[in-house]
């Protein structure tokens, strides 16, 4: 197992003066290939802040983050954006799809920002949608799809660029249990790729069966780390 994301002694202070909050207080965590890690904790525990730092969206106040072995220390916003588009795929709680674009174009966007255009990009976007079971929805707009389908488009967007780390923020929170289960099944499939790791932030205990590892965070500190119920079933990379 190779670490695709590594965070050491992460401290994050949000706000200033009287409003200052220590969101993270020396967190060490990593995400390896072939694993689906659940980051669990109550509201306000710092799990989304940690996800943002691991995803190079926020910079830590202290500590070091490396993505694919590359340190983010001192990186400018454009360098962090470059790290994100090359290494990280995001799945958001409220999907964040572009309502005026079709499913294919929404997925293609992740390639377009990397400069991958043309027929090959369209083909890759369609393949990614087929992987998440949406081959029949290529030309549908988000408004014409169910919540579960929209989240699958978001997953297709996250994986289409071959990101080594998929970071999902409460991916099932807006879905019913059936759709939530379907989404976690897809994420488990992705995590079985030997070149990828999936980190899911959640406070939903129904997701526990899908985890190969569970990290619990409270008050900005990792309080436990344990093996999950799911077995790692790593597929060799094609």
């Amino acid at each position: 197992m190779t670490a695709v994301l590594q965070a050491e002694n992460i401290v994050k202070v949000l706000g200033q003066g009287a409003a200052e909050v220590h969101a993270l207080k020396g967190v060490n965590v990593s995400l390896g290939t072939g694993e689906l890690t659940l980051l669990m904790g109550p509201s306000g525990s710092g799990k989304t802040t940690l996800l943002s730092i691991l995803g190079c969206i926020l910079s830590p106040t202290e500590g070091a983050v490396s993505v694919g072995g590359q340190s983010t220390e001192g990186a400018e916003p454009e360098e962090l954006a470059d790290l994100r588009r090359r290494n990280i795929g995001f799945v958001f709680q409220s999907y964040h799809l572009f309502p005026t674009l079709t499913a294919t174009d929404n997925v293609r966007l992740a390639l377009d920002v990397r400069g991958e255009r043309g027929r090959k990009a369209v083909s890759r976007a369609r393949d990614a949608l087929a992987m998440v079971g949406l081959a029949h929805k290529l030309t549908s707009f988000p408004g014409q799809m169910s919540g579960g389908e929209q989240q699958r488009v978001a997953i297709a967007r996250a994986i289409v660029g071959d990101a080594s780390a998929i970071l999902a923020d409460e991916p099932t929170a807006a879905l019913d249990s059936e759709n939530g289960h379907a989404i976690m099944t897809i994420l488990s499939e992705i995590a079985s790729d030997a070149a990828r790791g999936v980190l899911v932030v959640t406070h939903d205990p129904r997701l526990l069966p899908f985890a190969t590892r569970i990290v619990r965070i409270e008050d900005g500190r990792i309080v436990s780390e344990e093996q999950g119920q799911a077995k790692r079933k790593v597929k060799a990379n094609a």
């Binding site: 989304t48 454009e78 994100r84 995001f90 958001f92 964040h96 572009f98 174009d105 377009d112």
Partner: protein, 377 residues
Amino acid sequence: MSLIQKLAFRNLFHDRLRLIATVIGIVFSIVLVTVQMGLYLGFGRMVTTMIDRADADLWIMPQGTKCFEDPALLDVRKRFRALSIEGVAQVNPVVIGFADWRTPAGTTTPVFVVGSDVKNGGLHPWNVIEGQVESLSIPDAVAADQSYFDRLGVEGLGSTAEIRQQKVRIAVVTSGIRSFTTTPYVFTTTERARQYAGLPSAKATYFLVRVAPNADIEQTRRRLAANIDEVEVLTTAEFRERSRSFWLFDTGAGMALFAGALLGIIVGTVIVAQTLYSSTKDHLDEFATLRAIGSSGSYIYQVIIWQAMISAIIGFCLAAIAGFAITALTAGSALPILMTPLLLAGLFALTVAMCVASAIAAIVKVMRVDPAMVFSR
């Protein structure tokens, strides 16, 4: 169409009401600029019509003459002096002046008399639709434009009226010789022009010089200026520029037109900036998502710039159609609005520049977008 263009296009057309507001803002702004600049060009051309139509390489005029309509006078003896200068082939006097035209009904209206010798080159009426220029040598004969017939109280060829108690008869009818001052031009001979305008017989307003075929115009101009006292000698191009400069800038008319155009640009920029900014604000989530999935800043700016460009293209096309319609409607007026290919190209460049400049506020807003907001919404 690239995905950036598609996203920009869809962002714009997603909110059609706002797009309509943006386009109306651009159209009004560009039409206003078109009218002002078209008037500027039309005015610039109208004020030099007589100079452009005159048969002259050089103009001899009293010192300090500001424009063609300047009524200062020259002594006719200077004409003979000019004829003796090396390189000069012809020197034709032109007399101009204001006079009162008395209609057959007894009312009077001011006219601008232009006198030139019919047998020689000079300044004769053009766009003749009835009669012949040569007939102006007949006693009482004058030329007038048909567009002023109502004002002059005449009906056409052969109609009579009075100037300074002297009978005048329409012997030549022209079309499209309009005066920007709205005072009708009346063409006649130099002698009768003096009588109509009440000028002494030994005076003329200009001497129009034709340079000999092999002579150098600039050298001849210098020789004329050096040998004739108290006159200025200008090439046609120089006099045209002086006249245009006087009417457009010394009178403030040009500045007023420019100020109107500037106002149009400012209003257009503010409207487009406001709508682009509010559109960007509405799509902030999407821009934050783009940033979160790793798009560069320039990728997002391109989306906004394309939104501005698409608005500009739509707005310009509609404004150009309106501009052409206005141009056609004013074509026969005293002060037509002109639309030249250069003005059209300039207006397009201005529309694009205005819209892109308007995108700055939206870009500044996007520059501050925090991609972390995708987790909180």
